[in-house]
Amino acid sequence: MKALRILIEGWVTSFRYPAFISGFQPTLPVPPLSTIYGIISAAKGDLVTPKDLSVGYVFSHQGKAVDLETIYELSGLQGKSNVIKREFLVNPEIYLYLDDLDYQEYFKRPYYPLLLGRSTDLVSISEIKEIELEKQKNVKLGKTILPFGLSGAFGTIQALPTHFTNTIPRKAVGTKPFILMNQFFDYSDECYYDAEKDWGVWFHK
């Protein structure tokens, strides 16, 4: 299958657990699908959902740390500052795979600035490439989000949405349990394979 592979790089990022809203803010080990559809929507300048496009990705980073962050707690129109601890990932890198080649135009000239995780986490596009993906068995798969119950996969299990609506307030859509697999494992069944990178790509349909 022909696919588009886009390399996205940044300095720092943090992906919030949707269930933990107050106190310490840990980061998920890999981005949820909603973050991926968010960045694609920003590039296109319009809402993109799993109905429009199938995506796969391989995410890595070079370390994790905790920072103190000032937040302003709003109570009506009044706000008071507070400090929370937020975990963040350093030097994030995503190889994003899209099954629609037309999207390369959006990533060449993104409509909105591209942000990953927090609204301050600016990222850049380092490479856009059309590639051929073959289906193959016995590949290394991981560093991504996978459907719950996928044979051999392990990692943090979380209920995560696939995307959000563009209504106000936004609503989470497609929430279900996912495996956040932050390392590679040997996957014996068939899946798409990027020979150049020597890893499997799991497309979320």
């Binding site: 269930a19 809203i21 107050s22 310490f24 709003l74 719950f148 307030p169 859509v173």
Partner: protein, 450 residues
């Protein structure tokens, strides 16, 4: 439409609650119905109102009727809330905006008085678009009310969440059994408490109990465990997350069947810090001390050095246990393990045959990659002079297996070779006598390794 109310959600608080109700009602999660919910609430609310439980509930659901001192008719008020949620529960559908199950719609948003670690409804900017709470459907919000039944008191509270149904079942059964004991004796002690205050030690204790008590083929189950150590106090809610990946769980499940299980317990004991073992009388005196073996396992760091007793020149656990750890937990290539073992054997043979204890000392104390490589080169030369039949290692073994990442992994290789030499030559080394000078240098070496 399906009549199933609960399925695995992936939300730790909701899943813990579902398994607690399930175990209390003695039914599978997907068999639960509204009648079961009605049947459980009176007993659980009475339990929560006991002094010890109410103290725990205060750190889980601040400002709910059980814990809010201004509420006088606590039982009636909390039962009212639970009954209202039951009335609103609908079976799982195909879609919905609940952020837990995603298969039902939200009717009322929930704050931290109903869902732990969810912001207070008043501080609206914790929520997207400044809404006044988190989007949980009535069924998921109801389930969370029962999550305290399976929590573990450990300083703060520990919530266990796993992808494995067996783990969830075993753990909820154990916790509910503890509650049944409290009910039978009339002594309410609160959430399951075994006097652990160190969450990491508690987690490994819980896993060890599970693998020792229950006969499960964990290799087929492939469980991983997430542990949430938290408080939900109004002032300073806090959270630490510990993740036990499948390879570590499988290793911990395998160890008790191994003939060297006692040695594994010795390795774990070596991990405890700030313990004077000569003065220890019982487990209580050290079980909450920090343990570097556990810490390293959770951080994905190596514990190889705990298999090596440098002071007594002893390999603890044997090569078979160590190589299982390397393969399962460190994901080390089988071929690399074999090559290191073979080189360790050859070096042990050379040291003994040439009666060259000085070379062992040099292998132990080499403190950089260049020195270590040079030392191996000298040994190769000496072996050739001694007309050794086989080379110490081939070029391929050296580049691909012994030091695959050169300077980055040489310490690991040094430790593994040393382990093997100690294992093979332990009796011979003892016969030679361990000099004081050597011991001092070992301690220095260990300090440098830390």
């Amino acid at each position: 439409m399906s009549e199933i109310i609960y399925d695995f959600t992936g939300n730790p608080f909701v899943d813990a609650g579902i398994w607690a109700i399930s175990e209390w009602s003695n039914k599978k999660p997907n068999e639960l119905n509204k009648k079961d919910f009605k049947g459980i609430i009176d007993d659980v609310v009475k339990l929560y109102l006991s002094k010890k439980w109410s103290k725990n509930i205060y750190s889980i659901f601040p400002n709910n009727p059980i814990t809010n001192p201004s509420v006088k008719n606590k039982e009636e008020r909390y039962l009212g809330i639970l009954n209202e949620l039951i009335e609103e529960i609908v079976p799982l559908g195909k879609s919905g905006d609940c952020i837990s199950c995603g298969r039902r719609d939200v009717t009322h948003r929930s704050g931290k008085d109903k869902i732990p670690l969810t912001g207070s409804g008043k501080l609206i900017n914790y929520f997207s678009y400044g809404v006044d709470g988190a989007d949980y459907c009535p069924a998921c919000a109801f389930a969370v009310q029962f999550s305290p039944l399976t929590m573990y008191a450990c300083g703060k509270l520990l919530l266990i969440h796993s992808n494995s149904e067996k783990i969830m079942k075993i753990w909820s059964r154990k916790a509910i059994k503890n509650i049944n004991k409290q009910l039978a004796s009339g002594e309410f002690t609160g959430c399951f408490n075994e006097e652990y205050t160190n969450p990491k030690n508690a987690l490994f204790h819980i896993i060890q109990d599970m693998v020792l008590e229950y006969d499960v083929r964990w290799i087929n189950e492939a469980p991983s465990i997430n542990c949430y150590h938290f408080t939900n106090y109004n002032q300073g809610p806090d959270l630490d997350i510990y993740h036990v990946p499948t390879p570590i769980f499988k290793f911990l499940a395998y160890v008790p069947q191994h003939e060297k299980f006692e040695d594994w317990l010795k390795i774990v004991r070596r991990g405890y810090r700030f313990v004077n073992w000569e003065k220890i009388k019982n487990e209580k005196e050290y079980k909450n001390n920090p343990n570097t073996v556990y810490d390293n396992l959770l951080k994905g760091k190596s514990i190889i050095k705990y298999f090596i007793d440098r002071k007594n020149k002893e390999a603890i656990g044997g090569w078979d246990l160590l190589s299982h750890y390397l393969e399962e937990v460190r994901n080390m290539d089988e071929k690399r393990i074999d090559v290191i073992k073979k080189v360790g054997d050859e070096l042990a043979d050379y040291i003994k045959t040439a009666d060259d204890i000085k070379t062992l000392k040099k292998l132990e104390t080499a403190n950089n990659y260049r020195n270590y490589r040079n030392l191996l080169r000298i040994i190769i030369k000496k072996r050739i002079e001694n007309k050794a039949e086989n080379p110490l290692f081939s070029f391929d073994d050296y580049v691909n297996h012994l030091f695959p990442e050169g300077n980055l992994t040489w310490r690991e290789t040094q430790d593994l070779i040393l382990f093997r030499i100690y294992e093979v030559l332990h009796d011979w080394i003892i016969q030679q006598g361990i000099s004081e000078e050597l011991i001092v240098e070992e301690d220095e070496m260990e300090a440098e390794n830390v």
